[in-house]
Symmetry: C2
Subunit: 246 residues, 2 copies
């Protein structure tokens, strides 16, 4: 479903009862190409995890490398402290594409593209790997940016925890068909429509305290006011990784 670099691999995530799309199974996809393209088009995800039997659903920024997902946060956060020893997690990304108004209540719906990814979340412990991950935390979204920044202090690195999760299983679920009514309902004089929804970039707001002469780097050109966020993120993903690590 995209020109992703996975298109030629033909790889697929294993399907079990855990990730099989049960409801409307025609909407389910398990191939790397579809799953990865939807992940790379998002910056925000929601991670579910369990503490003392209680489920938590936490929004966070994330990024992908190959079949591995990363997210981060304060070393003091509940989510990250809990994950330190390795914990089951489900990371979900949803692109909300429309509200669908049909001719009966039952067929009211939404168009969307979502991914649920399952695995064991763990802290990045290895110092070299953590340093590399802290670079990608910025450069995955804004390719090459870390090289232009003030270097991180030891304290800043310590205060940040990075989590990784190998995707053991994943499923994508896609509805992209707008209004679908029962055959006989099309004969009724009832209004129906698809109401598109889009995540759009606004005009960049430069920091008012920029030093004179500091210009917006060319590397940020994907992030232009009016563009779809997902287009900018997809382009940046392609620029951030070498073909091998995609």
């Amino acid at each position: 479903m995209s020109e992703s670099s996975d298109s030629s691999t033909g790889l697929t995530y294993p399907v079990t009862d855990r990730n099989r799309v049960k409801r409307r199974h025609d909407r389910g996809h398990y191939d790397h190409e579809t799953v990865h393209a939807l992940l790379d088009a998002a910056a925000l995800c929601h991670v579910a995890y369990v503490v003392d039997g209680e489920p938590y659903c936490t929004p966070t920024l994330f990024w992908r490398e190959g079949t591995r997902l990363y997210w981060h946060g304060s070393s003091a956060s509940r989510m990250l402290r809990t994950l330190a020893e390795g914990q089951r997690a489900c990371l979900t990304v949803t692109h909300f594409d429309s509200l669908v108004l049909a001719r009966c209540g039952y067929n009211h719906s939404a168009d969307y593209r979502s991914v649920m990814a399952f695995g064991q979340a763990r802290l990045v412990d290895d110092p070299e790997e953590k340093t590399r991950a802290l670079v990608m935390m910025v450069d995955r979204f804004f390719p090459g940016r870390t090289a232009q920044l003030r270097a991180s202090s030891e304290q800043e690195v310590k205060a940040t925890s990075v989590v990784w999760m190998e995707i053991e299983q994943a499923s994508a679920k896609i509805r992209a068909k707008g209004v679908v009514d029962e055959d006989e309902d099309y004969e009724l004089p009832i209004y129906a429509e698809r109401l598109p929804v889009r995540m759009v970039l606004g005009e960049p707001e430069a920091c008012p305290r920029l030093l004179p002469g500091v210009e917006r780097p060319e590397a940020l050109k994907a992030y232009e006011g009016g563009r779809l966020l997902e287009s900018a993120l997809r382009e940046s993903y392609e620029a951030a990784y070498s073909p091998r690590s995609r």
Copy 2:
């Protein structure tokens, strides 16, 4: 933080270790007014729940009435079958407002407004209550619409499960400050910006199979191309409920 109808109640959700905002506690809010306003500005949520110790994070449409949240789905879905007997759940709503590019990696961030709501999710069993909920499933988003639709069949009602959850605890977390750098970093010749992100409505796409003369109902006027989705949802919420049930 809004002109919500809760503004005069002064009510607050109880705070315990479960919902206390630990990381950046200055961003935490527990009052009904703030929590409800953020919920009413969204149609999509993510629900975390646990099956056999494994966390799941499922995107779904939802709505609020007072301190109660509702969502729905196929009676066959895994999430809903699991909830039938009453199960802990965490329903999270996130408004993603910007990406923040600072002068060091550590201060890269995002502006956002999120709510985590905790409770015991249960199926709506009572037939009258289910009928009422099935109306609100449509009318909460499109006030008065059910009256214009083909009535639901018995089979359609059976095939739909509705879940409700009394909010036992909730917290809102808000970051809305754009670029914030260390004092000394403002002296560096590094570009920094706030990159706004918005969920915007596209132009409504009328069903191509409308009967001649069927016009878009006046009641949908909140949903206009180019508007923020959250503005349309807030207006619709106000129109959908009597002041008493807000």
